[in-house]
């Protein structure tokens, strides 16, 4: 197992290099000039020239890239052009927020998505199945910002149970922290639960038709044991892949949800950074997310082996 993990980690290096190259060149192709965004309404040419020199924007692009990679390898992601804070500090302050929101959203999605998927597969063609499908479809198709604003109206403005938006760090007050995150986590989770439900349902339907399930039933096992132990465990394989992918996506920042609920996570940071052409921040976030994705892929592979013993010898 350990050699497997090490091998996978090593193979991730070329991917990371490619990702960094892509991000670097792509954003140089963006129209608009970071210095112009920084120089504001006044647009003093002398100031703009000074800033270009200061942030090495006059250097040829390959040189800028080499310089950036060199710094990143030493743990320095550069400085935000807009606020002059070190990107590392920004990443360190946003990452826990985004991870917490992602974990909560994923828990909500799993708790709703997998059971409804199982139930609707088992009761295929019944009213329960249709109801679950309608729920899943609404989860997928209702826009996040709309659901977010409706929930704010109900729970914050009318009932006044929860704060309308904002964020309290976990370390400051656990109760308040959960109160600020429950609505955004629900908005994100509801959407994902629809996706999970649909996949669980189709995976379960396939497995339920398999011979070994028929055998298990023929042996006279309780239907519950057949469904949960024999069918679900085998149906989980594609769900694990999907879940890790969804989690990776959540790490990239839930742009709209974070915007609506004013959650200071990756999503909000990257949108601001792109609009202000804050190159260093964009690069830092994308690289961070790419690393997260690679680690999650690795995690998915490890989980496969745990769920499916046949893969362990491979």
């Amino acid at each position: 197992m350990l050699t497997f993990i090490l091998r996978r980690l090593l193979s991730a290096i070329p991917t990371l290099i490619l990702v960094s190259l892509f991000v670097f060149t792509l954003q140089k192709l963006l129209p608009g000039d970071p210095v112009q965004a920084m120089a504001g309404e006044e647009r003093d040419p002398a100031v703009m020239e000074y800033l270009r020199e200061k942030y090495r924007l006059n250097d040829p692009v390959p040189l800028q890239y080499v310089h950036w990679v060199g710094n990143v390898l030493q743990g320095d992601f550069g400085t935000s052009l807009r606020t002059e804070q070190p990107v590392t500090t920004l990443l360190a302050s946003k990452l826990p927020v985004t991870i917490e929101l992602a974990v909560l959203a994923l828990i909500i999605a799993l708790v709703i998505g997998i059971p409804t998927g199982v139930i609707s597969a088992v009761r295929k063609g019944t009213a329960t199945d249709y109801a679950a499908n309608v729920f899943a479809l609404s989860g997928i198709s209702i826009p996040h910002f709309w659901l977010g604003i409706v929930l704010i109206m109900i729970f914050a403005v009318k009932l006044q149970w929860l704060p309308a938006s904002g964020f309290v760090p976990l370390g400051e007050d656990v109760g308040q922290n959960l109160k600020t995150l429950i609505l955004p986590a629900f908005v994100l989770g509801a959407g994902l639960s629809g996706v999970l439900m649909r996949h669980t349902r189709s995976a379960m339907l396939e497995v339920l038709r398999a011979d070994y399930v028929r055998t298990a039933r023929a042996k006279g096992l309780f239907p519950r044991t057949v469904i949960l132990k024999h069918a679900l465990r085998n149906a989980l394989m594609p769900i694990v892949t999907l879940t890790t992918l969804l989690f990776g996506e959540l790490l990239g920042g839930a742009v709209l949800t974070e915007q609506v609920f004013s959650i200071p996570g990756f999503g909000k940071m990257i949108v601001d950074a792109v609009f202000n052409r804050d190159y260093a921040v964009v690069q830092g976030v994308v690289l961070c997310v790419a690393i997260g994705f690679l680690l999650l892929n690795l995690l998915a592979d490890v989980l496969y082996r745990l769920i499916n013993p046949r893969l362990r010898t491979a």
Binding site: G32, D33, G40, E41, D44, V47, S165, S262
Partner: protein
């Protein structure tokens, strides 16, 4: 009976607690400010924070006249080349350093010389700063500059503590305002707390002031209505009805200083080679096809102020005799025929890619079509739009200006031949002469006549069509009292308190 003493103690404790309860004011702002250094910052939301954090030499009143803040009095020398300011006594910075003439010199020099200072153009006329004594400073200018006081009423006149500012400012600004900096969490909050040694501390009633950036206007309002915020700024006109209907909320709307304009590319590169760029009659025809009032009613619920000049109505330089040209399609068609252009006249209109700007663009597109124009509307992301306009890659650019209390800042850089923001490269030496002179004249009546003359030239040549002024709409919980709105939209907290 046994409970009686216990109850009394509990009640007493409760009472004591509420008497010492910390009062916190939470202000929802539209976006996260950039670097918190008055000399290098550019965002409007930054100015909102500075209003509580950093005092300026002078302040501006709702009627756009100037009043003392850190300078208690000032006067110009006979030749208009020396501004002598008397400074307030007993003022200290948040770190305890004393505010004096040397601090003023330090700050003005810093604003003038810091390589990435954005205040250089605002203080371009300043030649030197002399410390006369601890409480008197003399600012010498290269040529008479009527705009200087106005510049000192904003970021260029904000005072940082010299010792603390020798190193890092942006992440921990040390000023002398009523509230001092505590903490900033990027994109989340900026926390300030009461400064106990403030010279006018009896006028400030909150222990803590927290600024929370919330970009979505309806979410900002929802937070106010639910009581999670106490004040919000830049309320969307479409939200005003909802806000007014809520008994827990009060709304303040005041005409602002910022305007929207259509700038025509008259001679910046190849894109200027079209009937609109070359013939003022075609531009005039375009302007005549626009109904400013309809734009106001349709997009802004009638809350904006349609205008055909760059000065707001409450400015002494607003020309009452310069009417807003009413929409006249026939006259517009006639002008096009006179100019001998083939209709429809194809033109490109670039607007920012936000919903409001696009909506205004669409209305202009529909209105001008009736007169014989075919507008190709191009929505461009803001940073890109700036770039393209400067590079001359536009025919008409719709862009906003945040406005300045002094008229010079609203006109000179946009229409003078070498103006930094004159993206259309319009050039009329006669106009330059008027506007350059208006900069140097301190007498209001004399200045007025220069600006009125300039406005007349602009109306004649139409290098730009002014559309409207946006109001500054601020909403707050109804349990707050004492707020006085100002055209600059900044939230001054003096005498504001919970009922």
């Amino acid at each position: 009976m046994k409970f009686a003493p216990l109850m009394t103690t509990a009640l007493l404790l409760l009472a004591a607690n509420s008497a010492f309860a910390e009062t916190t004011l939470r202000i929802g702002i539209q976006d996260d400010p950039d670097v918190l250094d008055p000399h290098r910052s550019r965002t409007y939301s930054g100015r909102l924070v500075y209003t509580a954090l950093c005092d300026k030499l002078v302040d501006v009143r709702p009627d756009l006249t100037y009043v003392p803040q850190l300078a208690t009095a000032w006067n110009w020398s006979e030749d208009g080349k020396t501004l002598t300011m008397t400074l307030r006594e007993g003022v200290t910075f948040h770190d305890g350093e004393t505010f004096d003439a040397a601090a003023v010199k330090f700050n003005l020099d810093r604003a003038r010389t810091l390589p990435d200072s954005l205040r250089k153009s605002e203080l371009a006329s300043v030649e030197s700063i002399e410390v006369i004594d601890a409480k008197t400073v003399a600012i010498k200018v290269k040529q008479p500059d009527a705009t200087l006081i106005s510049q000192l009423s904003d970021r260029a006149g904000m005072m940082l503590a010299p010792k603390a500012s020798a190193t890092e400012v942006g992440s921990k600004p040390v000023c002398s305002g009523p509230y001092k900096f505590v903490q900033r969490v990027q994109q989340d909050r900026i926390v300030l707390e009461r400064f106990d040694n403030y010279w006018n501390k009896q006028a400030y009633h909150f222990d803590k002031v927290i600024f929370l950036p919330i970009p979505d206007t309806s979410v900002r309002l929802a937070n106010l209505r639910s009581g999670d915020l106490d004040i919000i700024e830049r309320v969307a006109p479409t939200d005003v009805k909802t806000a007014k209907a809520d008994s827990h909320v009060q709304v303040f709307s005041t005409p602002g200083l910022g305007y929207m304009q259509l700038m025509y590319n008259t001679s910046n590169g190849d894109k200027a080679n079209n009937p609109l760029g070359k013939d003022k009659r075609v531009r005039k025809a375009f302007e005549l096809a626009i109904d400013r009032d309809a734009i106001n009613q349709v997009v802004f619920e009638g809350l904006y102020a349609p205008s055909a000049q760059p000065f707001p109505k409450n400015s002494p330089y607003y020309d009452k005799n310069l009417p807003i040209p009413p929409r006249d399609v026939e006259a517009s068609k006639k002008l096009l025929a006179e100019a001998g252009v083939k209709t429809p006249v194809n033109v490109e209109l670039k607007v920012a890619n936000n919903p409001i700007a696009q909506q205004v663009g669409q209305i202009i597109q529909a209105m001008t079509e009736e007169a014989g124009f075919k507008v190709n509307l191009i929505a461009t992301e803001y940073a890109t739009l700036l770039n393209e306009q400067q590079a001359g890659n536009f025919q008409i650019g719709m862009s906003a200006w945040s406005g300045r209390p002094d008229p010079d800042g609203d006109i000179h850089q946009f229409v003078t031949c070498k103006g930094g923001q004159n993206d259309g490269h319009f050039c009329d030496p006669k106009l330059d002469e008027l506007l350059n002179k208006a900069r140097t004249v301190n007498d209001q009546a004399q200045r007025q006549s220069l600006y009125f003359e300039a406005l007349r030239l602009l109306a004649e040549d139409v290098p730009t069509s002014y559309l409207y002024f946006d109001p500054r709409i601020i909403a707050m919980r109804s349990n707050l009292t004492g707020f006085v709105p100002n055209p600059d939209g900044l939230i001054r907290l003096n005498d504001v308190a919970f009922k």
